[in-house]
Amino acid sequence: MQLTSFSFKSNVRRKLIDPLLQRNMKRFGGRFVEARAAVMTEVDNLETIRVAAAAIRDRSLANLDSYLLTFEERARARGTEVHWAETAQDVNRILIEIAQANGVKKIVKSKSMVSEESGLNDAVEAVGIQAVETDLGEYILQLAHEPPSHIIAPAIHKSVEEVAELFSEKHHTPRSTDIPALCREAREQLRPHFLSADMGISGGNFLIAETGSVVIVTNEGNGRMVTTLPKIHVAITGIEKVLPTLNDFSTIVRLLTRSATGQSITNYVSMLTGPRQEGDLDGPEQSHIILVDSGRSRLLGTEMQKALRCIRCGACMNHCPVYQNIGGHAYGWVYPGPIGAILTPSYVGLENALDLPQASTLCGACQVVCPVKIPLPELMRVLREKSFEQGLRPWYERLSVRMWRGLANHPRLYALFTQLGVRVLRVLGGKKKLLHRLPGLDGWTEGRDMPAPQGRTFRELYRKKHS
């Protein structure tokens, strides 16, 4: 996916004045938030399960190497070919090699965010292979030539009206805003692709080490079509997605679907363990798994490792007041919202996403809902520290932070400076006691006044009273 995270601020500016996006974000508003809150009341020991889920993820990550090797061994024993991709480019290369070795001309895909990281669709199309997205949201975006803006609802930034327009233009059908009719239309378009594709690509929500299975948690039937109809199935997923046992999965899935869409369980939970075996009625002839590193292993053993607990439920972005106002595209890469503000700089380089860790008030709404208890604000702060230490922030910002530290650490100087400062600002505030412009603080005064200080500091007034 094309990277624009380095121009976050101008992305934001555009998104804040995009009337369509603003309307769509308002409509989407709290739907997932409310659904999540409602369904969580079913779980009477939510906090206990969260603690257990976080511990499971930590255990998986602490022994990632051995669980991955176990997974590889068990998957191979069931006839799955396991491929290791160190970089995003490797993902595309491996996939194209498999496709070309088998004369693949058409690929059907169900949702895979990892394949967005490597821009897989463009890469396969460049070698003459057609890739058709079959997840409804992804299908819409492929028609519209847009990237996803949410990890579980990729087309959330689009309204029904826009989809109706798009379908009628691309399918040459009469325009309809009836959602079931639109779904039917997409299904009719996709069916021939499912039947004629030579390869299916899916993501993988989890890898189960003890059985060598890939788990897919989804609401759309396309997942099953993609993984069983074509003669080759390739699952692409990150190395951090491994879980030791099926039992662990059963704990995690209780939180995943509830945190994501607010459902007790999704329509489909599929466990894929190898290609069609003797006696099986369906399933692919070949089954492959591409295990992707692409920056993940760099986080292991560092204070950022907790970010790898993520089970991609999307709750952090649904609850994020920044995401709610700017949408997912502004973040400029595959993963938006709080977790994106952490993963993007970690995977593509801090210098390419400098503003993302700053794009949060650290309000903590994300941390409260994260099912695996990732301390998202703390991790953003760690990235801020790295930016500061590496001198990546603008000079005036570093200077003002250092100056304030110096002042705050020298009470007499602080007293002098603040006493002077508040007098000046009080005078500038005039009769209305408001500052409309403050040089150096345009970021504030462009959209807000600054209420003027009272004019004397507390310490002055207190000393006067008590002397």
Binding site: K9, V12, R13, L16, P321, V322, N325, I326, D355, Q358, A359, S360, T361, L362, C363, G364, A365, Q367, V368, R381, L383, R384, E385, K386, S387, F388, R393, E397, V401, W404, R405, L407, A408, N409, P411, Y414, T418, G421, V422, L434, L441, D442, G443, W444, E446, G447, R448, D449, M450, P451, P453, Q454, G455, R456, T457, F458, R459, Y462, R463, K465
Partner: protein, 245 residues
Amino acid sequence: MRVGLFVTCLVDMMRPRIGFATLKLLQDAGCDVVVPPHQTCCGQPGFNSGDRESGRAMARRFLADFESFDHVVAPSGSCTGMIRCHYAELFPEDPALQTRLNALSARTFELTDFLVNVLKVERLESAFQGSITYHDSCSGLRELGIKQQPRQLIGRVAGARLQEMDKPEICCGFGGTFSIKLGEIATRMADNKCQDALTTKADAIVGGDLGCLLNIEGRLRRLGDETTQVLHVAEVLAGPEPDPN
């Protein structure tokens, strides 16, 4: 009970009257209040901007200024959150210092939390004519669990009526330096907060953190609203006092 008052830098500079209101509330409740003269800032602006050293320097200073008190009280959930949740973790190399900081943190309280849960204040000599809508500032709410405390106290103020907004818990967009670095998003968030508060038709928007209040008031005034009051909860609880200016 000897209580150290941590005024906070924003209150010191921008709204001393909040500091005096806090002082009055604590004294009325029978506390022996001391204001250590060398206090400055909790270090949060630097700490959240990625300068750990700011946090460390201020944590040491805080310890020197306040360790001798039975309790420390601040009219801010955000500064109290900084002290309670972040100071000790800044010194992984010094367990002895961590122990001292943890002990002090445990005695450090946000004002309304202290009034309700430590002093168990039942009566307030205050009056407020009109309706109030309360904004839950993020650090207080999520780091310290401050939610019912201010509401309970406002309920004891003669004449004050609480009128909840639709989403009192959503961030107002202040976020310290965020409000300047990403001012456009901050403004939009402040705008949403103002709209939500205004639909309650409350006479005053009240909260426990001055940063948020400046953000909200700044947006309100820019929008042309000159009448809705924006007040710190301490001002409401202490009642009107002659401006010491």
